[in-house]
Symmetry: C2
Subunit: 235 residues, 2 copies
Amino acid sequence: MDAEARTDLALSRIAAAIGEAARVRILYCLLDGHARTSTELAAVAEVTPSTASVHLNRLRAERLIKLSAIGKHRYYSLQGGEVASALEALSVLAGGTRHKFVPSAPVYLRFARTCYDHIAGTLGVALHDRMKSLGWLTENSSGHKNAYDVSHQGAQGLQTLGIDLVATRMLHRRFAFACMDWSERRAHLGGAMGAAVLKLALKRKWMVQEVGTRALSLTSFGRREMHTRFGLQLE
Amino acid sequence: MDAEARTDLALSRIAAAIGEAARVRILYCLLDGHARTSTELAAVAEVTPSTASVHLNRLRAERLIKLSAIGKHRYYSLQGGEVASALEALSVLAGGTRHKFVPSAPVYLRFARTCYDHIAGTLGVALHDRMKSLGWLTENSSGHKNAYDVSHQGAQGLQTLGIDLVATRMLHRRFAFACMDWSERRAHLGGAMGAAVLKLALKRKWMVQEVGTRALSLTSFGRREMHTRFGLQLE
DNA sequence: TCAACGCTTCGTTTATCATCAAATAATGGA
DNA sequence: TCCATTATTTGATGATAAACGAAGCGTTGA
């Protein structure tokens, strides 16, 4: 088989991989650059998780998406900008109104949202970075990757905020670790510590949780507290 | 069904229409902007004419190609530049070496080639235009569309060249008409007159026919003759 | 260690599609 | 008018693929 015939085949296989409604929904959903789990994508594609899994495998086989983190959650995201370009070119042909999608990241989710039981988004990343630069969090040497310890200095600061560090340590779960934030592509604070911080923030009304979504809204009081307590100048 | 869902479906159908090897070969072949008949495209796609017909219908249904002239021959061509763009974007993903195809019209066929038994290509169009502007060819009023008559002036000129106009007229076929040249998108001279001109050109060694192809090569003698007899300054 | 959860793989059913040969339609020329 | 050329439609067949439920695998947290 010569080079041209191989290109024909490759192109036809790629186009065929795109050429299915559920997979188009998946790809469109990933166009904002965020990574998502297969369950999320199954819901978006309106198919069962098993079917979605097959679709995701096929898209991956054609190098349209990539699998980003192996662990409890597996995150799928677009392979690269060329994929977005191709989708855009095709959507012009489709005559749809969707060809302005590149920066369509939902802003309300981008700033602050829950990641299970802790804070993700721009705010989550900012808090995490601040705690590290203050020296509150230090790399854990016990072998667990991405795990953190809280320094003496950090313990004082957290105590001052009103977090019961002893009780937090006693929970039977990972204490503190760098939880990858795929929308920011940077880490935020996860684990029992992260949960404690969110719990505190909600209790103190620094932020409120929108019903039915993962979105978090920073209150104006919370904004001031972020500034005075962490030196964070937000927005 | 909302607008987004409709776009999803349309896009998936379009991608699926591209997503088949034979159809990719057809589309690639049409990328040079030329229009081709279904038989030509069947050969390119390496399928039987009936299969090609199905493929062409599908591509047409998705508005990727268009059908250009209804008559004995039906010419298929790309619908527009957006289609070429989409194919290019996809071919980047395919990693092929083919993404420099836009101006890939085969030059040797573009300049001069046979169209059945007369001259097509740039040269054919130039000759046709010259004969019209010299007043040799006039529009035929008998109702046959695109048909030409030869003027008294034209008869003299052709006689001088060595064409037996009487014999040409007696052939039982269309005498002279504007034959659409889909590579130039302009007309050249077809019919018995067109055949007579090619026959003469070959006899006088103004041009030679490449074996096994439709390509015609203008000899240097032919080039001079085009200049002295028709005032055509070629290349 | 076990239980829960998220995700994938397997097996089956159903539907779509690619292909060709044969039949049909349309056109131009004799 | 009829014939030759060209193109499309139809019908049969085999292959591919989409969908789901059930079962399996691996990680996390109790």
